[in-house]
């Protein structure tokens, strides 16, 4: 299905300029991807912190307070 759709598309003139165009798009999207990866690492750190906070609250015998970060996360 995907192969047939790709075959129907016109061929790209990937000769001399192709490597420059590919490099520009790959670099730009790699930068964004790195940023998203950093965001994911920070998010997982916050999740761990939240989990430890909640377990601490439960360990203290109190009902867990509303998780502050949870509801605002996308």
């Amino acid at each position: 299905m995907a192969g047939a759709a790709l075959a129907a598309l016109p061929a790209l003139p990937l000769h001399e300029a192709g490597k420059y165009v590919a490099a520009a798009y790959v670099v730009a999207f790699a930068l964004m991807l790195i940023y998203v990866a950093i965001m994911a690492v920070r998010l997982s750190r916050m999740q761990r912190e939240l989990a430890s906070l909640m377990s601490r609250e439960q360990g203290a015998g109190q009902p867990p307070s509303s998780a502050p970060g949870e509801a605002t996360l996308p």
């Binding site: 420059y20 165009v21 940023y35 996308p74």
Partner: protein, 269 residues
């Protein structure tokens, strides 16, 4: 946008909608760039970089100006949330500016045979703007007191933000240049190219808005989490000292109620 308001699902769904719109616009733009826009008569396939490089540059520069407007709002209202928004806008614009410089350099190599041309005013002026904003984070980090940090950073953002349009005008007045002019009477883009360019610009602008929104949400969530941890420590009767409550940082540090956090150490403030 109010961090003191009760958590709601609308923020998450709004961010999700923005992310989906950005992804759809970027996918459409890529399809148009490679399968709809005609090849340039002079540069051929190499000109496809234009649809990425120019929107990145425009969005980065607009982000810097937007940050200046937010800094004005901060100085007028003294609301630290405007400082946070200004900080995030500059932070994201710097990332987009790095992408602009790299893609522009690759395009220059393919088109002119050089990675960088120092005699070209457009390139050098953009580099100056980038280097100017690269000092923003060290400036913030150098100031320990959060209130002073926010105030000085806003003054910087306004001054540098005013420099961006001035720089743009000065470059356009330059008589000798190699870099093509995109906006203005000399740009005669065919309708198919113009349409592709506009879609690309919308896609990059939506990507910028999405990443800014993610960063803002993360910063607010971290502030709320920190406040919850402090409350838990207070209930348990622990006190790790003021330095443990807030590590020195270049980023604005809000409390869960949208006010500024205490400085890392009172001795230097």
């Amino acid at each position: 946008m109010n961090s003191s308001s009760p958590p709601s699902r609308s923020l998450g769904s709004g961010l999700l909608a923005l992310s989906l719109a950005a992804a759809a616009a970027m996918a459409l733009a890529l399809g148009l760039v490679f399968f709809y826009a005609p090849l340039d008569a002079e540069q051929g396939f190499l000109q496809k970089i234009f649809y990425l490089h120019v929107p990145l540059a425009i969005v980065a520069l607009c982000g810097f100006v937007l940050a200046a407007l937010m800094a004005i709002m901060h100085l007028r209202s003294r609301d630290p949330r405007w400082d946070l928004r200004s900080y995030v806008a500059i932070h994201m614009s710097l990332i987009f500016a790095v992408a602009t410089l790299i893609t522009g350099s690759i395009w220059a190599r393919g088109s002119w045979g050089h990675w960088w041309v120092w005699s070209e005013p457009t390139l050098v002026s953009f580099l100056i703007v980038f280097l100017l904003y690269a000092t923003y984070q060290p400036l913030r980090f150098a100031i320990e007191d959060p209130e002073r940090q926010a105030r000085y950073a806003s003054v910087f953002a306004i001054t540098a933000g005013a420099f961006v349009p001035m720089n743009f005008i000065a470059v356009r007045l330059a008589s000798a240049y190699l870099h093509p002019r995109v906006l203005g009477s000399t740009s005669n883009l065919p309708p198919q190219m113009a349409f592709t360019f506009v879609v690309s610009l919308i896609g990059v602008a939506l990507l910028y808005a999405t990443l800014c929104s993610c960063e803002l949400t993360a910063k607010r969530t971290r502030a709320q989490l920190r406040a919850a941890r402090r409350a838990a420590e207070a209930r348990a009767g622990e006190d790790a000292g003021p330095a443990a409550h807030r590590l020195r940082s270049a980023a604005p540090s809000l409390t869960a109620h949208g006010t500024l956090a205490a400085p890392a150490s009172r001795s230097g403030a």
